[in-house]
């Protein structure tokens, strides 16, 4: 019986040390600052995610307008292109008022 009583008191002593550690105001403030730090980091991560989402939106918007806008070198039906006859083979009168140039392949 004595032995177990001594063990119990030893256990109580150890427990009290642990409990004391738990409510140790220093420890509490350390944990608090740790939590603050984690929250700050989380805020940082969220801001970075927001930035990424914004950047992605901008890229998508730009890609959208690029697709919607006709390419700069698309044929313009209202323009008169400067197409030279050069040394190309011609058919029909040389003094014709209309010149029709055809780019073609044979296949």
């Amino acid at each position: 019986m004595r032995k177990s009583a001594r063990a119990a008191s030893a256990f109580a002593a150890v427990l009290s040390v642990y409990l004391a550690a738990c409510v140790d105001p220093q420890e509490v403030s350390r944990m608090k600052s740790k939590v603050d730090e984690i929250q700050a980091q989380q805020k940082d991560v969220l801001t970075k995610l927001d930035d990424l989402a914004k950047g992605q939106k901008e890229i998508l918007a730009k890609a959208g307008t690029a697709a919607a806008r006709p390419a700069a070198d698309a044929p313009d039906p209202n323009r008169r292109y400067d197409v030279s006859v050069g040394n190309s083979y011609t058919r029909g009168p040389a003094d014709a008022v209309v010149t029709v140039v055809e780019w073609s392949d044979f296949q």
């Binding site: 044929p75 313009d76 197409v83 050069g86 009168p93 029709v100 044979f106």
Partner: protein
């Protein structure tokens, strides 16, 4: 194109430029055959042969047609392979790039690109050009 030349025998001059599409394996050899025939003054004869037989183009055909239109075959063979012939075709293609040609056939009627491939449209555009030019 024949249709247009027939419809406007006095008012239209037709110019052919090469644009052999890279995914048409017979297009470049055919273009070379036409240019080589042109060196003997028979471009249009070969051009017509090629168009009439567009579905049967092949490496063994060009010499047959060259004989049919009366070309000097040895000269034809040499001209087909000559860098000068290739240069004519690549020059045509370079010019095509400058004036936004993207596919074949692409027509320019006094420099204007029709919005559709239709004989009726070409005809009305040509008539308009003739009217504008013949105004006193």
């Amino acid at each position: 194109m024949d249709q247009i030349l027939k419809a406007f025998p006095n008012d239209v001059r037709f110019v052919f430029k090469n644009y052999p599409l890279p995914f048409h394996p017979n297009a470049m050899p055919a273009a070379k055959a036409a240019v080589a025939a042109g060196k003997q003054g028979k471009f249009w004869e070969m051009h017509d042969k090629l168009f009439q037989n567009a579905k049967e183009l092949g490496p063994d055909k060009y010499e047959i047609w060259a004989k049919e239109i009366g070309l000097d075959i040895d000269r034809f063979k040499t001209d087909v392979e000559s860098p000068e012939t290739s240069a004519v075709i690549t020059d045509d293609m370079k010019e095509a790039g400058k004036v936004t040609v993207r596919g074949t056939p692409t027509f320019f009627i006094n420099g204007k690109i029709p919005t559709a491939r239709s004989f009726e449209l070409y005809k009305s555009m040509i008539e308009e050009e003739i009217k504008a030019k013949k105004k006193p």
